[in-house]
Symmetry: C2
């Protein structure tokens, strides 16, 4: 199998961090988003959505969506578990992953894509008809980001990792979100001391460099 990847985009980083935590090594093909290679015919034959990451299997089937790729890999390589090994761990990890995506990651995407000339008419990622930017989404993103920070900081006040005692896919999602959001000028404020403690620990793991 091989992974279509892009070095600075957040979704492929989720998969790379997941692979690193699992100790897995997969062939990677770099897709140059800044040059628009994701929208070129060669790549659209792999993934008609024009998004990265995409995992091409040996039989030619292509799996898209970072969470789906990671779940596929977890099923093939269950240890160490990153989606949870007990029902309650599974539920908590999914709940936190969804919350981080819905509040924090969405906020970063709103803020980044809806202002500035780099994303003109590209309000949505991947291949779409022209989608106008909506500057008001940057305002909404600020509300969402504040909610995300407050909720995550409270959770990390009494938990070492996002979903409890064990590092999980929720931590990968949170680290990718927070590091990505900087590009949209959304940052973790000093008052969120628990997130800052956690961010230091998560960033110190070798997977953070993936």
């Amino acid at each position: 199998m091989r992974l279509y990847d892009s070095p600075w985009a957040p979704s492929p980083r989720r998969v790379r961090m997941f692979l690193a935590e699992k100790g897995l090594d997969i062939d990677c093909v770099a897709v140059d988003l800044r040059a628009g290679a994701n929208l070129a015919p060669e790549y659209l034959r792999v993934n008609a959505r024009g998004c990265v990451p995409a995992l091409e299997l040996d039989d030619g089937e292509v799996l898209c969506e970072s969470a789906a790729i990671c779940r596929y890999l977890e099923a093939l390589h269950p240890e160490p578990s990153l989606f949870g090994a007990t029902p309650i761990a599974i539920g908590r990890i999914e709940a936190w992953t969804r919350r981080i995506e819905g509040d924090g990651y969405a906020a970063a995407g709103y803020a980044l894509r809806n202002a500035g000339p780099a994303f003109k008419d590209r309000g949505l990622p991947g291949k779409w008809p022209p989608v106008a930017q909506i500057p008001e989404l940057a305002t909404r993103a600020l509300v969402m980001w504040t909610g995300f920070v407050d909720t995550l900081d409270e959770q990390l006040a009494s938990n070492e990792w996002v979903a409890g005692e064990a590092y999980s896919f929720a931590d990968i999602t949170a680290l990718v979100t927070i590091d990505f959001a900087r590009a949209a000028k959304l940052v973790v404020p000093e008052r969120a001391a628990n997130i800052l403690r956690w961010h230091k620990a998560a960033s110190a793991r070798p997977s953070a460099g993936a």
Copy 2:
């Protein structure tokens, strides 16, 4: 355990359909969203986000997010599998679930919440500071909905169910999305014959009435 539920909202319907497909019966507590009961202090003590559904476990822990509740229940009651029993089925179901949510469900939410007086200052679901409506999101929703319809129709041209041969959580998500979107005047057009065939079959299952 008991499920905090609301009869007409889409996310709780996902859980109710999931329970019906599993043949599970759980105590339900109705939360009257139209009366704002989800934002009343009694419910905010259960789920500070003010969203339904929420699953309260016997030890008092509360799981939120419909997908997380369903994954918890799948881990407790693996048969019949709705999230996939093989690595590739797991990957496909998650990929389609994410795509349906990201394109179709998000479009319906954008269109519904960002126009009309019913959701004034409630551009996001649940408990947030006032979030202004953004009418331009209804325009964006139309683009997303068209993409959603085209992609799903193509998939269903060669697959009985959304993620392949077996009914799965992706079908639940698609049915909830399509039925919910009607409230936002987003419909499946006649040309999408494969979706219409599938919609009839999915709606004929007892779980559709849950």
